[in-house]
Amino acid sequence: MTLKPDYDVIVAGAGHNGLTTAAYLARAGLQVLVVEKNDWIGGAAVSRELHPGWTYSNCSYVCSLLRREIVRDLDLPKYGLQVIPYEGGASFTRDGNYFAYYSDHDALRREMARYSPRDADAYQRYSQAIMRQCRFIRPFLLRDAPDPASLRPRDLGEMAYLVKKAHGLGARELGETLRFWTMSIGDFLNEHFENDLIKAHLAGSGIIGTGLGVYSPGTAYVLLHHYMGDIDGGIGAWGFARGGMGAISAALAASFETHGGTIHTGAGVAEILTQNGRVTGVALEDGKVFNAPVVASNMDIKRTILRHVDRDVLPEDYVRAVDRFKIRGSSAKLNIALDSLPQFPAAPDHASFLRGDMHTSESLPELERAYDDWKIGRWSEKPYIDMLIPSQIDPTMAPPGSHMMTVFVQYAPYDLAVGGTRSGENWDEAQRKAMAETVVNQIEIACPDIRNHILHMEVRSPAELEREVGLTEGNIFQGELTFDQLFFNRPIPGYSDYSTPLKGLYICGSSAHPGGGVMGAPGANAARNILRRETRAGRMKGYAA
């Protein structure tokens, strides 16, 4: 008996990647349903009013990586997306000074020269090296990673492209590239700079979201992962989505719905249904069943495969590989409603860098020790914080004169060690409070009167992130960004083309190449592969094709 499917494709999860996949497929003329467990959409790209009058981007909080090809293909500005760049940043020190990062080249030079005239000059060499790596990697973001074990023409073609690009670098640059990809951010910075504070300021991007320390090989790549985005062509620039990160999801959803897509919220996928080794649809938690020959899962691969697919329909070694996929929570977050702008005594009045990202770590060893704490199941005694007050730029985030502060915290473990056990269950109210206290102490280095301004504070450990958004262990990238889980190894070797051994099931979230961040690339790439493999139409239209 053949049942006429309700939809051509069902996307499980309305995160930004799921919505991206859905929007591309709807534009290609397919009937697409997006199902979402929460009552709201956006996954980890959300704007939520958790304190009346204040909007929190309570998961992801800044924007740069979102590929401009996708923004253009899906016409996101038409659906309300506005991305506003922010100015620079700063690292504050316990002795009342700061290092400011300015986007103005000459101002940055002078600022660096305050600490080290040589570092001020060396910055050019550093930024040249980083920019070259960005230029090298960017073309790969919207392409498929080839399977080196495969002789399929597509894989050979992608492999040839990789070899051509690598060859085009020339011997010297290829060597530098190999080094860069395998280095620790600490070693890389030590090769360029002498000043501790400057190094600490630049190192942060190498550890955000990862279960690695600044001295772990591979963290230079993680830094790149945060630098390879752009705003209006300014590579490495970061900005705010006006209205919070949810504005990105809202624009994607609007683009999707305008092209005939349907979003069903409030009930997550209970099971991905199969018949004869092929996907037939999904059963939702609320009992509804929708049929479709293709399901694209925006959930991370562990959640998708281990929780929602019958193990019997999958090869054992695939399930084992998924089980071993490393997806560790390492970050926490504080979202704070402030009654007014707090004082930063070290900063001059109206300092532009207060509108940027602010930190309080002073040296590489301090950052590495923060990682050591995490390894044994504790949050860092002196965490790295990435703190911004977007309401200074975006008037929609808080009532006039009041402010919203977002504080990203590295490191906080998912499996908190309490009394000899390590588990996500250990995150109770008391633990969250204790961690928040640690973080607020850290904020006080920059902003001693912060406590007097707090109206409301949301404390999110990796456990909350898992519970609410669904990210396994609260890993913000849906899987560690280590060599063994990148490019053709992501998410599982042999399945870097967004497929799974189960026919009709695709992975479209950040677990897939090229990984996490509000980038949209996995979603766009997955859509391209679904169209190519599952439809007669075959080809995706647009720049991301």
Partner: protein, 392 residues
């Protein structure tokens, strides 16, 4: 080092900004290494003619200046630059270029030998990191004088007379000589204009006083304050290169393969293979025979400056571009510097054309203008080198 807050954002003011501000009518400032520098002061045309006919004063303090002192300073500099620094005697200044390991030009500048073991390097690009790398393992001390040493360029036919009137005796200075005219005031017979001229070097805080002294002395000798646009015309006439315009300083480029060798820039005579190893020597030995392109001096047909134009061979094949192009008011020629790929630059240099776009009162036109190679500088007056120098 001491850490003092420096909160200045945007352009900062140079050592003689007060004087320039008072004179500026065009209020046309541009950023030069972070300083507010005048693109013009009153009118580019009259500033240029002051430079070629009387005298001009231009603040060159934003240049980067480095001091190298010590037993092995000469060894370090010889490791750095392509020419033989040991041949430069104390009291002399030398033009120099330096390359990366692949033989691509990092920057050019002037090298002052102050004493046997005491040197100064002046250049456009920040170079402290690179100098420190070059000096690692050598007995030499490097000081960044960029923010402590000011420079004023006094250029033009009456420049000698002005210095004389200011009580500064430089009659004995030959081209590329330098001497301490007074304590804390060094004068070199150098410049970026190809004309008779001097550069005055003094402590940052003395600059205004020196400016005033020269200004007063120049009152009856036609002295004018000028901006970069006038200097730029003069330097193209002299055939001098500007970093970032006529070549890309290789350490400041993000894209690969943008570097050029001294041979490709027409600076082959600056490379001395016989002096022992220097940076890029091994690469340059093989690059010497096979330049990928040449920077040519050309006369452009017609009267429209060809700045930015693409260069074609036989009007068809794209083979290069114009890096700097102006109408030369002194040579009365339409002159330009052009990067042209080999073999077109050498094999058939008379078959090169520039595609010049012109916009006149709202109408755009494209025109092919024939290029004629020119040997040597477009303008090189004998007064530039005569010693003792002429007074007007």
């Amino acid at each position: 080092m001491t850490i003092s807050p420096d909160l200045t954002l945007g352009l900062v003011l140079g050592p003689v900004h007060d004087r320039l501000e008072a004179l500026s009518r065009t209020r046309n400032w541009y950023g030069w290494a972070g300083y507010a520098a005048p693109a013009s002061v009153e009118s580019v045309e009259f500033e240029y003619f002051a430079l070629r006919n009387q005298a001009s004063l231009f603040d060159i303090s934003p240049m980067h200046k480095y001091r190298l002192r010590g037993r092995q300073a000469e060894a370090v500099l010889n490791r750095l630059v392509t020419r033989d620094a040991s041949k430069l005697r104390p009291g002399r200044v030398g033009y120099a270029v330096w390359c990366d390991e692949e033989g691509m030009v990092i920057d050019d500048g002037t090298l002052f030998r102050l004493a046997d073991d005491d040197w100064r390097l002046c250049c456009q690009e920040p170079m402290l990191d690179w100098l420190a790398e070059a000096a690692w393992g050598f007995d030499v001390e490097i000081a960044d004088e960029s923010y402590s040493l000011a420079g004023l360029a006094l250029q033009g036919p009456t420049s000698f007379a002005i210095l004389d009137a200011a009580g500064l005796d430089v009659a004995h200075l030959k081209s590329f000589d330098h001497a301490a005219a007074e304590p804390d005031l060094m004068i070199s017979r150098t410049g970026f204009t190809g004309d008779l001229g001097y550069e005055l070097w003094m402590p940052w805080d003395d600059a205004t006083a020196v400016w005033d002294r020269i200004w007063t002395a120049g009152a009856h000798l036609g002295l004018r304050a000028i901006g970069y646009e006038a200097v730029n015309i003069a330097r193209i006439e002299a055939g001098f290169l500007t970093a970032g315009v006529d070549f890309q300083p290789v350490q400041a480029t993000e894209r690969l393969n943008r570097g050029l060798t001294p041979f490709e820039l027409g600076l082959g005579h600056m490379v001395d293979f016989s002096k022992g190893h220097f940076n890029g020597r091994r690469a340059l030995l093989s690059a010497r025979e096979a330049p990928r392109s040449l920077l040519m001096r050309v006369d452009v047909e017609g009267f429209k400056p060809a700045q930015g134009a693409l260069v074609y061979h036989r009007k068809r094949r794209e083979v290069g571009h114009i890096t700097s192009g102006i109408w030369s008011p002194t040579a009365k020629r339409n002159i330009a510097l052009a990067h042209v790929a080999t073999p077109y630059a050498t094999r058939s240099p008379t078959q090169l054309w520039a595609e010049v776009y012109t916009q006149e009162e709202g109408r755009w036109e494209a025109r092919m203008a024939r290029l004629t190679p020119v040997e040597g500088a477009f303008f090189a007056p004998p007064r530039a080198r005569a010693t003792p120098p002429a007074r007007r």
